[in-house]
């Protein structure tokens, strides 16, 4: 398949858009008509053809534009990418994982030629053909984690594992849902999750940590997480809250379908073999409400989930002020019919909306 890359922006004029294919493969995060935290992990070993689960690192129509946006964020704020000194080996692990995965999964776009420690990396979409020495930082223009993360969609938390805990000791974070690497750097799993409501009381994090500490080589895992974003912004960081926070007040009943986006993170977890660290890629997918409503099942379900969500979660996810406006809009796409299990749109089997 030859991928056509969009020429689009995630700022200013917000020309970001999803093709029909991108809407169809959007990772709708609700497998039932309600939502509560759970340790919703599964093995990350492929999935339905052309789904975002199919490849280890999904490359889609937004690739080039997302990489352009990342470069702009880094130019404004270099602290979005940091790696403590002991994490360099894990950075090489990540570079190897991505290069091997992409060259095997997308041979038409990426090539990796290895001769001992002399590696040649070809990234056709970005026009890169680079020969370097593995484990020799001097032969790369950036550190290994930054080098590969500038060529890979999604944020990357690289977590050191020691003392029965995980530590946020390196990362490339430019498409985040309102958290800061610069603030969290060096924190352990419980410290960086401290602001999350309700989940601590449910023991979610103790169980999640136990699961993550035991992720083994050759057995990556994944889960979906979600929030809401007004305008298709990738960079919803605390550092730039003064720029994007105010945009939440620009939503009106007339523009909500186009402006309000469901933001879904495909979170994956891989054990890094050489360092025994864990990499936690967080890939952000955006879809406007009006595009989501093209799938009748998603329209019905999104209305029910947002309607029944505990207030704490709406506040934590930052949309409590606009919630009633969302519900006014979404309720017109919910005719009360039952929905099928699972996240997929089931366009062929779900009944059309009864107006």
């Amino acid at each position: 398949m030859t991928l056509q890359f969009n020429d689009e922006t995630f700022r200013d004029d917000y020309s970001f858009h999803n093709s029909d294919r991108a809407i169809k493969r959007f990772p709708f995060p609700f497998h039932e008509d309600s939502y509560m935290y759970s340790v919703n992990m599964e093995q990350h070993r492929g999935g339905p053809a052309d789904s975002i689960y199919e490849k280890r690192f999904d490359v889609d129509e937004h690739y080039l534009s997302e990489m352009r946006d990342r470069a702009m964020v880094l130019a404004d704020d270099p602290l979005r990418c940091q790696s403590l000194p002991h994490m360099t080996l894990a950075g090489w692990d990540l570079l190897e994982l991505v290069m091997v995965s992409k060259s095997e999964d997308y041979p038409d776009m990426f090539e990796l030629h290895r001769d001992g420690d002399t590696w040649r990396w070809v990234n056709k979409p970005l026009g890169i053909d680079h020969t370097f020495t593995f484990l020799d930082e001097a032969t790369l223009p950036y550190g290994p984690m930054e080098y590969i993360a500038r060529q890979t969609q999604g944020d990357f938390c690289v977590l050191d594992q020691r003392d029965d805990n995980l530590w946020m000791d390196a990362g490339m974070i430019t498409t985040q849902a309102d958290w800061s690497l610069d603030f969290d750097l060096g924190m352990n799993f419980f410290e960086w999750h401290a602001p999350v409501p309700l989940a601590h009381e449910k023991g979610i994090f103790v169980r999640a940590l136990k699961f993550l500490l035991n992720i083994q080589q050759g057995a990556p895992a994944r889960r979906l997480n979600w929030t809401m974003t007004v305008n298709p912004l990738l960079d919803t960081s605390p550092e730039n809250y003064h720029k994007w926070g105010i945009q939440k007040t620009s939503v009106t009943p007339d523009n909500i379908g186009a402006k309000q986006h469901l933001r879904v993170e495909l979170q994956t977890f891989f054990r890094l073999p050489r360092s025994n660290a864990l990499v936690f890629p967080i890939r952000c997918y955006l879809c406007s409400f009006q595009d989501l409503m093209t799938a009748p099942k998603w329209g019905r379900r999104l209305h029910r989930v947002i309607r029944d969500l505990p207030d704490e979660l709406a506040t934590y996810k930052g949309f409590s002020d606009n919630r009633s406006m969302m519900l006014d809009y979404l309720s017109t796409f919910d005719d009360g019919q039952p929905t099928s299990d699972g996240i997929w749109a089931d366009l062929d089997t779900e009944p059309a909306l009864i107006p």
């Binding site: 002991h86 020691r162 003392d163 035991n214 050489r274 360092s275």
Partner: protein, 320 residues
Amino acid sequence: MSGAQKLAVTVTDIVPVTDLVTRFVFKRTDGGLLPTFSGGAHTVVEMRGDNTVRMNPYSLMSDPMDQSAYTISVRRDNEGRGGSVFMHTCVNIGDQMVISHPVNLFSLDLRAKKQLFIAGGIGITPFLAQIKQSERLGGRWELHYASKSKALAAYGDDLLAKHPSDVNIYHSDQGQRIDTERLLDGQPIGTHVYVCGPKSLIDHVRTTAAAHGWPRENIHYEEFLAPQPGKPFEVKLAISNKVIHVGEQESLLEAMERSGVDAPYLCRGGACGQCETQVIDYTGNFIHRDHWLDDAEHASGAKIMPCVSRFEGKTLVLDR
């Protein structure tokens, strides 16, 4: 499926190292590359006998960057349940075997300013890989290796020849001992100590380090326990609704697996915590051998680690 992902390998070399230790080299049966790993990782080797499948963990001792082969060293234990004896007597060059992906429960803390390795006997094996990793990455390290005699000090001569200023070997038959007090008292700030070997050595190093004010996070140890034989006993598995018999020469975990119960595990040596199982009811005494549960948990009778621990008594009901 429990445990780590599996690899199909072929035994390509078997080399006697000392009177007790033999080295085995595995290559991928399909000719492909093996995964890289980090120093301190182990693999679980499946040993298929006539009626039994034993799975023992062995530290990987080869260069973690070398993807062409994995190497382990097995010390023959004639008193054990036969896993090491099986490796020594039943495995031949050319045999196909199944091993797990590498799992590391004893990895280096890469923040360390210096890595201080203390090995006793066959406990040398994880350090062989860690030394290769440290050399490749330019890290500072020092090894202190205690052995019964020069003849039994596996890899001692190699290590001394390659790293004469970093390796110190002690032969107890010549009255040589690691002076742990002195060793731990004089280390630069930021040193991490790693100890692998008999329980007495591990306890001694941990106690001495704690007494000298070492932070808990800077002390690392690994002791794989082989499951010990014991009196047979019966167990009721509540979830599976089965009563199983644990034989003299098998572990509780192995008996569950033999009965078709898919119980979780990783290290099978009492270290990793994966197989922790809740006790629903019991009348009798536990023989706890793991070092995952603490003393209070052992005394509580609420949990058991079926990979190494046993039971003597009338009734044992587990939540499995």
